[in-house]
Symmetry: C2
Subunit: 394 residues, 2 copies
């Protein structure tokens, strides 16, 4: 990548992040009256519901804290970070046994507790990142309590599908925790070795059960021994998810200098883009079938915003790590598709849900899944990688 | 409607039903080895999963039995009806306390029990209709046992959303049970009065809580007193669902001669078509917001098969009941849209999921929701209404 292009991209991403995406959430999302983040927003940023997603609070606490940690503190970012971190600690993590709620009302009273431990994980990363931004170690303690809740409940919650007849393993938990431990490790350097061990365990789990070189695929759901499980669920591929995993692995490989792991991570990216990229209209499919059959999801060919965020990060990271210009080209392809289709230049931020042909299917700016997270995270990481590329070029 | 058109439609629907839709399910769906119906089928009819939906078994038992009851018995229909009815009675209704499973494996071993009582209701209609087709009263007893399970568990299962903070009423249960009691009443004429009373209770509930003439809308979810409830959920409209309710009500009004009820039912149809019909591409939207805001569902503008089935029935029934040619025109519009877009003339049966513009988004022929039910039911009812219109014209 040329120095000119690096500088151009740096300006562009900084402007998009600090001039468009973050102001949208500061203006419309941050709840100045009741604390935390309103996440269910329409195109103009007006709440479609004032109920608050549990995931959104921890994720937004991570974003506003990471902005301060990576770009330097700003008062409004720090205030937003504190509001989301406090709401996470005081309201989201107020479930039975310290569990985190999936949905709360505007005041933070509980509406929905789910049987998955994702809200706990997002609480942990938000609180950990905020402990660094704020310099207040009590947030790290809160993050570690959230992680202890995760550890205590893992494997104890009722399975959706009868586990004696059809036991299954899901990729989500394994992959998410790699990143959670990475963030905790940075916030809690005194215990770095222990987090690294847990990351290594999860990476081993990932390759033992989910990564299938013979199929050139990372499966979402497998039998307990890693074998195929029944039907569409067993054949389901989620290219965006696999790509996200690939950069979690690349980040680990770059830190430890493990060239073997780096190679395997780049391979997962390669498989996922080969299968997942729509040759006809561009963009990444949301779901695929490993045998090429019709995916079960009726929305399988919609282009969601977040796989494109993950793919941009993964391609630029692969380029930074390997120098292979194939990944520079892929980064430019993803970058180009994303900025031609997702941003709403009228009201700010991004649309999240396109039809296969790239037209906007639903104009919501937020819901309990599309929150203040994937877009700013990707932009922050891309900015960091561009700095690295610039330094290497100089 | 002219006698010529009536005759033409009669031939057409008989051919579509007995020459296309039913043969597809007999060939690919009926599980001749393990009993019941395989419902997760791809475009060609090959199983995408051999797991069986609990809803599908009762619904298919209804369809194959109703075919015999309305068009005269055929050996292959009766065998399919018995297979699905037996699977329903012996496998689906084998849950705790007699509850019905939502999903089972091919052998009928339980995979998923949900906290909603829909599978019990579909079991009851399938078994009741099969008692008439088979002349075997033990199926009626099994249907009444399923109904007793429904009665016993109604209101006792844990709510998804915290009911002390956000108590809610859903339209689905009220509307579905009107039809369930109608089918039971026909199968169990000795107790007709008791079913009629229960239908009248549900109709009263419907108008007390869900039907909002001031909004020209039937709401899907309301507060316990029928007031609006928070957010997108409170503003959600499901045109197909409201239209289905309208014909359940019309059927009741025609039986009892209640002109007031008929008028109100036709009004619900009118509101729902006015709001729900896509003026740009044709077809019915899947979800709308009562205030015209962006619906929360990312797939809100997809055209599902079943609302079109329900709308064809409702419009022809409104025409038969009122003689108003507006409803004849609407029937022809729905009929035309449906048969131009949904049938798969290569492999038979219908596609279920179109994009807004009418192109096919997902080619599955079946899943646990799109089963052997809406399409044959609509065709059977249309055939009955055409007979009625022909008699009236003669």
């Amino acid at each position: 990548m040329t120095k000119t292009r690096i500088a151009e991209l740096k300006d562009f991403y900084l402007r998009e992040l600090t001039g468009d995406v973050i102001p949208f959430w500061l203006t419309h999302g941050i709840d100045r009256e009741r604390g935390g983040l309103l996440d269910f927003l329409d195109r103009e940023g007006r709440p479609l519901s004032t109920d608050k997603g549990g995931w959104a609070q921890g994720r937004a606490a991570w974003v506003f804290s990471a902005l301060c940690n990576r770009l330097g503190p700003r008062e409004e970012w720090m205030a937003a970070a504190k509001s989301c971190a406090d709401f996470t600690r005081d309201k989201v993590l107020a479930g039975p046994g310290g569990r985190a709620y999936f949905e709360l009302d505007r005041e933070g009273r509980p509406l929905v507790l789910r049987r998955y431990l994702f809200a706990e994980a997002f609480a942990a990363i938000g609180l950990a990142e905020h402990s660094v931004a704020s310099g207040d170690p009590s947030y790290l303690e809160a993050a570690k309590r959230a992680l202890a809740v995760y550890d205590r409940f893992r494997g104890t919650l009722p399975a959706k599908i009868e586990p004696t007849l059809r036991p299954m393993r899901g990729h989500s938990d394994t992959m998410l925790m790699i990143n959670v431990f990475q963030i905790l490790r940075d916030a809690d350097p005194g215990n770095a070795d222990s987090y690294t061990r847990r990351i290594e365990e999860r990476i081993a789990e990932l390759f033992r059960y989910f990564v299938k070189p013979e199929l050139k695929a990372l499966l979402e759901t497998v039998a307990p021994d890693g074998g195929m499980t029944e039907g569409c669920e067993g054949r389901c591929l989620n290219p965006g998810h696999a790509i996200e995993t690939s950069w979690f692995l690349m980040a680990e490989a770059r830190r430890s200098g493990d060239e073997g792991l780096l190679g395997k991570a780049v391979e997962i990216l390669d498989w996922s883009l080969s299968r997942g990229w729509d040759q006809e209209y561009g963009g990444l499919f949301s779901f695929l079938d490993v045998e090429g059959r019709q995916p079960a999801q009726i929305e399988w060919d919609m282009k969601y915003w977040w796989p494109h965020c993950e793919a941009a990060v993964a391609c630029l990271m692969a380029y930074a790590a390997t120098g292979d210009r194939k990944w520079e080209r892929w980064f430019e392809t993803i970058h180009d598709y994303s900025f031609r289709h997702f941003p709403d230049r009228v009201n700010g931020e991004w649309f999240g849900y396109l039809r296969r042909d790239g037209s906007v299917a639903n104009t919501v700016k937020g819901n309990h899944y599309k929150v203040c997270f994937h877009i700013p995270r990707f932009m922050l990481i891309v900015l960091g990688l561009l700095d690295e590329l610039r330094e290497a070029a100089e």
